[in-house]
């Protein structure tokens, strides 16, 4: 204690010295600058994500951040055209569907190897399908194998029917998938990241399916496949993953396909806070990030070092009507509601210019979207006229609910949307009983069990097929909607089973017309989420289903 003060002064001096040292280091580093890149940095791209992946095994995840990473390292039999939803060849060069719609035969790409040097062939494909089909115990948990269950239903244990019948390796490079009933959405579903093909040797060596189920029933992998050795055929290879900090991938020098970009090292860095992601982009620490906060759009657009890319709309927000609740069973009331709500004003007011008014329950990017649906213009007088003509005493009492503690891509501020709509409805001809509940579990439970009359909800598509939108909503009777309309149910059943692409498109267009005449709900917006990039990054092709490849991205050197 003799020289406390001197010691403290010394420590202060040390701190100053360290700061100076740190500042000196910063001038040597390429990281600190203001968006302009030096020559060597051009081949490294750091991308800010909203969270860490869960694991890097496509079969076991359904969250966007895991899928994003897996998409860079793995490929499926088919994929989607960049920036669109049309199914194009992936690891399969072409395919044929049998007349009965029960067999899909794929010809496979020649000369493809996995990252571990193993050969890609028909047996590898079947190994993967058999693996998924034979999942047991905790791997059947929908939180793990969500997409398998969505697309194929059950597993080999037969507890639930499965659409999957078998996989046959006919020849070295010819594989046939047999299904138990015809379904035309299978092809689009096979483009899902969860059905990408992994190296059988790596799956075995690193024990992808080994693990213990703890007393709480959670499967924790004992093997290192999904955390340290994910092995696919894609343009990037796994390098290292430090949880919570970074996932590093390097270019696959033996990639069989086309990878026009110039990124040698691709890094995903989880940055949970959107404001922090923006600042990291502004400071040049990352060159791009996803899930831009709508309020930050102008900041990025006004900065000439940065650019804003929009992901085509692939979602829908809607006001759902439960026809089990009177008077929503009356088409006139539903029409009046549709005329009473100024959807354009809601979209203009709360979507920062990134939304468009929806006319039907699926986005325009998707095939089967109909240009001829009945539309309902904002016209409160028409609403009033309809109701009076039908003999209603105004105002009509009705309950309307919105979720709290949540924001969704299609609904950044549910309460604001709700309040604007309530004001419109009350101005016209309704008396709204307002309801709300926390998103999970109460709100979703109440919706699923048909406890609300009107409610706000929405949906983001998983894959490029109308079945994933209107099929999910209206193909079967559901308590949330409270109606039985055989015409619509049948139209959707038939459209799902149809194998001729042209006919199928027409059938879905007609289904959309039917639905919007029947008006089971009022779709009001499709949104286009934004991505922020440094201005010198080119070649990034935003996709409606977020299937985006960094292998086509180029980072331009000093401009």
């Amino acid at each position: 204690m003799r020289s406390v003060k001197r010691g403290m002064l010394g420590a202060l001096a040390l701190l100053v010295a360290l700061s100076l040292l740190a500042a000196a280091c910063s001038t040597e580093d390429s990281g600190g600058g203001g968006g302009e890149d030096t020559g060597e940095a051009t081949e490294t791209l750091a991308f800010g994500t909203s969270a860490d992946p869960i694991v890097l095994d496509g079969a076991l995840v359904s969250d966007g951040e895991s899928l994003r990473a897996i998409d860079q390292m793995f490929e499926g039999l088919v994929t989607l055209e960049p920036g669109g939803t049309e199914v194009v060849p992936g690891l399969a060069t072409d395919w044929e569907v049998s007349d009965d719609g029960l067999s899909y035969t794929f010809n496979l790409e020649e000369g493809v190897t996995f990252h571990d040097g193993e050969e890609f062939n028909a047996e590898a494909v079947c190994y993967n399908f058999d693996r998924w089909y034979n999942f047991k115990g905790s791997l059947q948990n929908p939180a793990a194998s969500y997409y398998w269950q969505t697309v194929f239903g059950g597993f080999s244990d037969g507890k639930t029917d499965s659409l999957f019948e078998s996989c046959e390796a006919d020849e070295e490079l010819v594989v046939t998938l047999n299904v138990t009933s015809p379904s035309s959405s299978i092809l689009a579903a096979l483009a899902l990241t969860s059905f990408t093909i992994a190296s059988p040797a790596a799956l075995e060596e690193y024990e992808a399916d080994e693990g213990r189920v703890d007393e709480e029933g959670i499967f924790s992998p004992a093997g290192t496949y999904a955390t340290e050795h994910p092995t696919g055929t894609g343009p990037f290879m796994f390098e290292e993953w430090q949880r919570g900090d970074r996932l590093v991938m390097t270019r696959n020098p033996d990639y069989w396909g086309d990878a026009p970009g110039n990124i040698e090292t691709l890094i995903f860095q989880p940055i949970a806070d959107p404001a922090a992601r923006l600042q990291a982009l502004q400071s040049g620490e990352i060159q791009g990030y996803d899930l831009v906060d709508p309020q930050d759009y102008p900041t990025i657009e006004d900065d000439d070092q940065l650019q804003l890319l929009n992901r085509p709309a692939f979602n829908v927000a809607y006001v759902g009507f439960n026809q089990a609740v009177e008077p929503l069973d009356d088409i006139v009331v539903r029409q009046a509601i549709a005329h009473a709500i100024d959807r354009q004003a809601v979209v203009d007011g709360f979507y920062a210019g990134q939304g468009e008014v929806a006319t039907q329950f699926m986005p325009p990017e998707l095939f089967g979207y109909s240009e001829d649906v009945t539309t309902y213009e904002y016209d409160p007088e028409e609403a009033q006229r309809l109701l009076e003509e039908a003999g209603y005493d105004l105002p009509i009492k009705i309950d309307f609910a919105y979720p709290t503690d949540v924001e969704r891509p299609y609904m950044p501020d549910p309460q604001a949307n709700f309040e604007a709509m309530v004001a419109d409805l009350e101005d016209c001809c309704f008396e709204i009983q307002q309801k709300s509940a926390t998103w999970t579990p109460d709100y979703l439970d109440n919706v699923d069990n048909g406890r609300y009359g009107m409610r706000l909800l929405g949906w983001t598509g998983d894959f490029g097929d109308p079945d994933n939108f209107i099929g999910t909503f209206f193909q079967t009777p559901q308590e949330a909607w409270g109606f039985e309309n055989e015409e619509i149910f049948n139209a959707l059943d038939e459209a799902e089973a149809e194998t001729d692409e042209e006919t199928r498109i027409q059938m879905y267009e007609e289904a959309n017309n039917l639905i919007m005449d029947f008006l089971p709900g009022l779709p009001y917006v499709h949104t286009e989420p934004g991505l922020g990039f440094a201005a010198n990054v080119t070649g990034y092709q935003p996709s409606p289903v977020s299937l985006e490849q960094f292998s086509s991205v180029t980072v331009e050197g000093g401009q």
């Binding site: 360290l18 600190g32 750091a46 929908p142 959670i218 924790s220 989880p270």
Partner: protein, 334 residues
């Protein structure tokens, strides 16, 4: 002394048991659960029921608690529902990050706060004193979140001096035997990595340090004022001792006692209070992990994390009490 420490240590047992019950009950009282959070609008009733069944959430609450305690006592904090990784493993990765940041913040708070408080006391009611009062009020009341954004804007975006996120430049690779990056880069003998990890520490540490800094400065000031009017100080001055020696040996040394207590308690708080700072700086510590767990309703992680924090605070308090008794013998006999 030993007797006092032992008695004090034994007292922590009922505290810890009570804590485990509170944490367990609290986490289960939160609305929603992993089943809902995992599936969102996609979940069907059957799927959620299946998950609840698997997670053992359908069993009576005391059975769940019993199982939880049994695992806890064998050092198993459970498995994250979301990442499927053992919580103990992830804690080993993340706690060093939080600890490193807390130490850096506390060093900054002490190195600036103590001199500031001392000078303010020496210039009692002068301009410096009043300025430091206002500054420390601002320090206490300024939201960390906003301060962090502001610091980043000035030092990273405008001046380009310091990084805004993470613990190390993202392109730099470094082996992590300890997960304390400063230590790791010293072990690796990598000077550039050392500079880099220090640079990454500066802004989050400063942001995190504001509140303890202000408190330390105020406590130091009060303690120094208190001691300055003591008889032995007057005696020392009267016998013509060099004023610097009086400051150092008589005033500062005796004023340090309450400051040490506060430093101990604040260090405990810093270890747990870094949730916002860690999130804003994308610092991969326990705080940002907790926030993520809340976002995804990851019961197991929340429970493990909160319990870990609570135990930490209990032990920091224990240490402070014991060290206080060590420094001030009168305490032991009360």
């Amino acid at each position: 002394m030993l007797n006092f420490a032992l008695r004090r240590a034994l007292l922590t047992i009922p505290i810890l048991v009570g804590l485990s019950i509170i944490v367990f009950a609290f986490v289960r009282a939160l609305p929603g659960g992993p089943a809902d959070a995992l599936l969102g609008e996609r979940g069907t009733e059957e799927q959620e029921a299946q998950i609840r069944e698997e997670l053992g959430l359908n069993e009576p609450i005391y059975v769940q608690y019993g199982r939880y305690m049994r695992n806890l006592l064998s050092g198993d904090l459970g498995t994250s529902v979301r990442t499927r990784q053992p919580i103990t493993e992830e804690l080993k990765l993340r706690f060093p990050a939080t600890f490193e940041l807390a130490i850096a913040a506390m060093l900054f708070a002490i190195l600036v706060g103590v001199p500031l408080g001392f000078i303010a006391a020496k210039r009692y009611q002068g301009v410096l004193d009043n300025t430091s009062l206002i500054l420390s009020l601002i320090g206490i009341s300024f939201p960390i979140f906003f301060l962090a954004l502001l610091l980043k804007y000035i030092f990273a975006i405008r001046l380009g001096l310091l990084p805004t996120i993470g613990r190390l430049d993202i392109t730099r690779s470094l082996a992590h035997p300890t997960n304390f990056y400063v230590l790791d880069s010293i072990i690796a003998g990598d000077l550039a990595a050392l500079g880099d990890s220090l640079r990454h520490l500066v802004l989050p540490a400063v942001a995190l340090a504001t509140i303890p800094l202000a408190i330390i400065a105020r406590i130091t000031r009060a303690a120094v004022l208190d001691v300055t009017s003591a008889d032995y100080v007057r005696t020392a001055q009267a016998k013509g001792l060099d004023p610097r020696v009086v400051d150092r040996r008589h005033i500062l040394k005796n004023a340090m006692l309450p400051v040490i207590t506060i430093v101990g308690l604040q260090t405990g708080l810093l270890l747990t209070g870094a949730v916002l700072t860690e999130t804003v700086f994308a610092w991969p510590g326990v705080g940002s992990w907790m926030l993520e767990a809340i976002r995804f309703r990851d019961y197991a992680v929340l429970q493990g994390g909160i319990l870990f924090f609570a135990v930490l605070i209990v032990f920091v308090n224990l240490l402070v009490d014991i060290s206080y008794a060590f420094l001030n013998p009168r305490i032991r006999y009360q």
